[in-house]
């Protein structure tokens, strides 16, 4: 076999700076969607509304930026929408006891039609809205680091939200494992009765978790609409809310796990873009790739876990 050919392919599609940059960029909304899933799942809530929350974040990001001519205002508007949608979701499912899955589906459907409606009513266009007045988030060049070869281009020059996502991964870790509130959140997720009898307000902790998930999701959304091209497109969340849930499972509910699983998603999506340029496969097939990869990864992951268990059994049988 001709390994130099393989090497060439690897270099072209995976290991070059542009691809790795693409990976980090494309992984960013997935990281944030993953954190959205993580913070709720660790509090014992099955939140499937991430998709809708992302969509709202994307829309309000564009709207804020367009009307105030400032990307930062867009960011703020998006985060506010995340808080409001998260708050409503929490209010209905936790306080009024609406079924959490039904509520999640409702939010997703509502987000879809509401953003279509708003785009038409407010901007007077259908499908997609872009305008030179929408301010994008500027890239941030990190001094000193940016001049180092390889590392410079790899780590410097992304928009604010990319770095924010990295910071949030670390902060979420610190929150979960180093602060009393994180401890409470995990206790509430694992044994709410135990938490309750110790005077922890389970309802309040869960409320907070859902609000936080709204903010994480809205950041993912704003990255989609302002991070690259300044544009809102209908259904632009494109399943990332659900991919976030997959990534959270794959990452074992751990922030760092979520980060690396998202990178996997990012690299596959990057390769997809590359392949689109080459025109060797139908575009629809290529855009399916990241989802296919997620499915595959989850399956392999589950199988591996089962196998490990079986192997342990076999070993134990031998020893005994």
């Amino acid at each position: 076999m001709d390994f130099s050919g393989l090497l060439d392919i690897l270099q072209r599609y995976v290991f070059n700076i542009a691809n790795l940059q693409g990976m980090l960029r494309l992984a960013t909304p997935v990281v944030l969607a993953g954190l959205c899933a993580l913070i709720t799942s660790r509090a014992g809530i099955l939140n499937i509304a991430g998709e809708g929350m992302i969509l709202f974040g994307a829309w309000f990001g564009v709207a804020g930026s367009y009307f105030f001519r400032s990307a930062w205002m867009g960011l703020l508007a998006a985060m506010l929408s995340g808080l409001v949608v998260g708050g409503l979701f929490a209010l209905f499912s936790l306080k009024f006891r609406a079924h959490i899955i039904i509520m999640g589906i409702a939010i997703n459907i509502f987000a879809n039609s509401a953003t279509i409606f708003l785009t038409r009513e407010v901007f007077g266009v259908a499908g997609a809205f872009s305008d030179p007045n929408i301010a994008g988030l500027p890239p941030i060049e990190i001094p000193i680091l940016k001049d180092i070869p390889v590392l410079g281009p790899l780590l410097s020059g992304y928009t604010f939200i990319v770095y924010l996502a990295w910071i949030l991964v670390a902060l979420t870790y610190i929150f979960l494992y180093r602060t009393p509130w994180g401890l409470h959140l995990r206790a509430v997720g694992e044994n709410p009765q135990a938490a309750e009898t110790l005077g922890i307000n389970v309802q309040r902790v869960r409320f907070g978790a859902v609000m936080a998930s709204g903010v994480f999701a809205s950041l993912a959304g704003v990255y989609l609409s302002l991070g690259h091209l300044q544009m809102f497109t209908e259904q632009m969340a494109a399943g990332r809310g659900f991919i976030g849930m997959a990534v959270n499972t794959f990452g074992g509910g751990e922030p760092v796990g979520v980060f690396f699983s998202s990178l996997l998603f990012g690299i596959v999506e990057t390769i997809g873009w590359r392949l689109q340029g080459e025109r060797i496969m139908p575009v629809y097939f290529i855009s399916m790739l990241p989802y296919l990869a997620t499915l595959l990864a989850l399956t392999v992951f589950t199988l591996r876990k089962q196998q490990a268990k079986k192997a342990a059994l076999e070993r134990a049988a031998h020893e005994a």
Partner: protein, 521 residues
């Protein structure tokens, strides 16, 4: 002397039940007060009221002489009341120290958990009260006895000086119970007051200073322990004389029904739990499996009924090999079982009593006709079972979770025994039951034997094993330590086998003193 706790005229109503009806309870400072009563008498409810988990419709509570209003759990904690529930409330993946300090953990610069302080304060408190514990162990890796210690420490960490223990010994081994009693005594020596709920009169006699007995939501008697005896307590609780010992005729063993040969079974952690066990059970005899819990009993039972694969060996019932059959097929062969955890495997909690009574035979006549169920037959069946087994319930349609432990167990027994099994397995059949229900269950087990069933009784209660079994096998670390006729076994001797000491034979275990010391180690 002022009372540490005074509850006056407490009334608590649940839909359809008056759980507490004008209940008075007075507990002196520094005493160990036993609270006894049949299943459903309202003991847990009363304590939940005191701990702020239930709100009474009427009544007043005084703590150390002052009238208090306990609106929520946190109020009770602030008043120095701590409670260890029947079902533990611990977070399995957290460490011991994290569980103990959860909700009021020491902080570091206001935002971070001060992990060193968490560790140290747990060490300090465990030393102060002489409750040994390793702060960094994870709850999921600890045996129940130690988990219970964590629950007690949790209360002590919150400066509880009135400690409520709701049936703390129900899940403990004899040794763990002894350790717990040591802990309770040292707590009282440190000025704490303890309220202790139990169904075991022997424990009441051993540890308590005074006893309050409840029946049907009312207090039916308060007495000093030194002025009473188990028979009197039993009568007070149940309202009639109770046989504290089973009466049965000698066994008439016939053909071998269950034949187990060199059985090997794994537990959930993939460790070998049953290591080459062989024994027989004949028709018309009760074989008791004794042993400290966790020595393979659960896995043994699950392997026989088909809930867990046998890794090696053979299980035969009436000469038919069971190992390749599924649960239903095994039941068809004639196996039935009262499972160890009645709430998980014994019944479907949200389903009605009626439905629970037919889950083992809903698919065949006379309950079903082709694909359809026959409601009138089912209703009649349920009514009949409720009467025969004396299930105390307002109707056959109430969900299983509304029944007290004893009545729930009667439903399970009714279902399992109405199948007229050839092999009847009863695993921990009286755990958590009151003495009246225990008497009933024991009579049913003996009846099944006399009808000609082979009975396999698994129990951690030595008393139960000894009073029911015609033959006793002792399991230790998944192996049979010894077999002995029921009539010849002594508690000390069995205790030695249960502790894994082989030299002694049960009937000649030397003086009881020596044996007791050996077991204690």
């Amino acid at each position: 002397m002022t009372a540490a706790v005074e509850m006056l005229g407490i009334r608590k109503v649940f839909p359809g039940v008056v759980a507490n009806d004008n209940v008075d309870l007075s507990v002196e400072e520094g005493e160990i007060h036993a609270l006894i009563g049949e299943n459903g008498a309202g003991k847990s409810t009363l304590m939940n009221v005191l701990f702020g988990l239930h709100h009474p419709e009427a009544g007043a509570i005084k703590i150390r002489g002052n009238e208090v209003h306990i609106r929520k759990n946190a109020d009770a904690i602030a008043l120095g009341i701590g409670m260890v529930h029947q079902k533990f409330k611990l977070v399995p993946s957290f460490t011991v120290a994290e569980n103990i300090t959860l909700g009021s953990e020491p902080r570091h610069r206001g935002v971070f958990t001060d992990r060193k302080a968490v560790h140290d304060s747990v060490m300090e408190i465990s030393q102060r009260f002489g409750l040994q514990i390793s702060p960094d162990a994870r709850i999921q890796d600890l045996p129940v006895g130690v988990q219970q210690r964590v629950e007690i420490l949790k209360a002590l960490y919150r400066q509880a000086d009135i400690l409520i223990l709701d049936e703390p010994t129900a899940v403990l081994t004899p040794k763990e119970t002894r350790d717990l009693f040591g802990v309770i005594r040292s707590l009282v020596a440190n000025g704490k007051t303890v309220i202790f709920i139990t169904h075991k009169l022997r424990e009441v006699m051993e540890i308590s200073d005074r006893v309050t007995a409840m029946r049907d939501g009312k207090v039916v008697g308060v007495t000093k322990t030194s002025e009473t005896n188990p028979t009197q307590l039993a009568r007070m609780m149940v309202g009639r004389d109770v046989l504290l010992r089973v009466t049965k005729t000698p066994a008439q063993p016939k053909d071998v029904v269950l034949q187990v040969r060199d059985l090997q079974v794994f537990d959930d952690r993939n460790l070998k739990a049953v290591r080459g066990v062989s024994f027989d059970v004949r028709a018309g005899e009760i074989v008791g499996v004794a042993g400290v819990e966790g020595n393979g009993q659960r896995e043994l039972v699950e392997a026989i009924v088909g809930l867990r694969p046998a890794w090696g060996g053979e299980i035969k019932v009436k000469a038919k090999n069971l190992t390749t059959l599924n649960v239903r097929q095994r039941r068809e062969v004639g196996v039935s079982c009262v499972p160890e955890d009645r709430y998980v495997r014994g019944v479907a909690l949200p389903a009605s009593i009626e439905d629970n009574l037919i889950v083992s035979n809903y698919f065949k006549p006379p309950i079903a006709q082709g694909p359809l169920l026959k409601p009138d037959v089912i209703a009649r069946h349920a009514q009949e079972m409720i009467e025969t087994f004396d299930v105390r319930t307002p109707s056959k349609d109430v969900p299983a979770y509304a029944l007290s432990g004893g009545n729930l167990q009667k439903v399970v027994l009714a279902r399992e025994l109405s199948a007229q099994p050839d092999l009847f397995i009863a695993a921990q059949p009286t755990r958590g039951l009151d003495i009246g229900s225990i008497e009933f269950v024991h009579r049913q087990i003996v009846n099944a034997r006399d009808r000609g069933a082979a009975v396999l009784l698994v129990s951690a209660e030595l008393e139960e094993i000894m009073s029911l079994s015609d033959r006793i096998v002792v399991l230790y670390e998944g192996k049979i330590m010894g077999t002995i006729e029921g009539a010849r076994a002594t508690e000390e001797g069995l205790g030695l086998w249960m502790a894994g000491i082989t030299e002694a034979t049960p009937e000649v275990a030397g003086s009881p003193e020596v044996a007791r010391q050996l077991v204690a180690h």
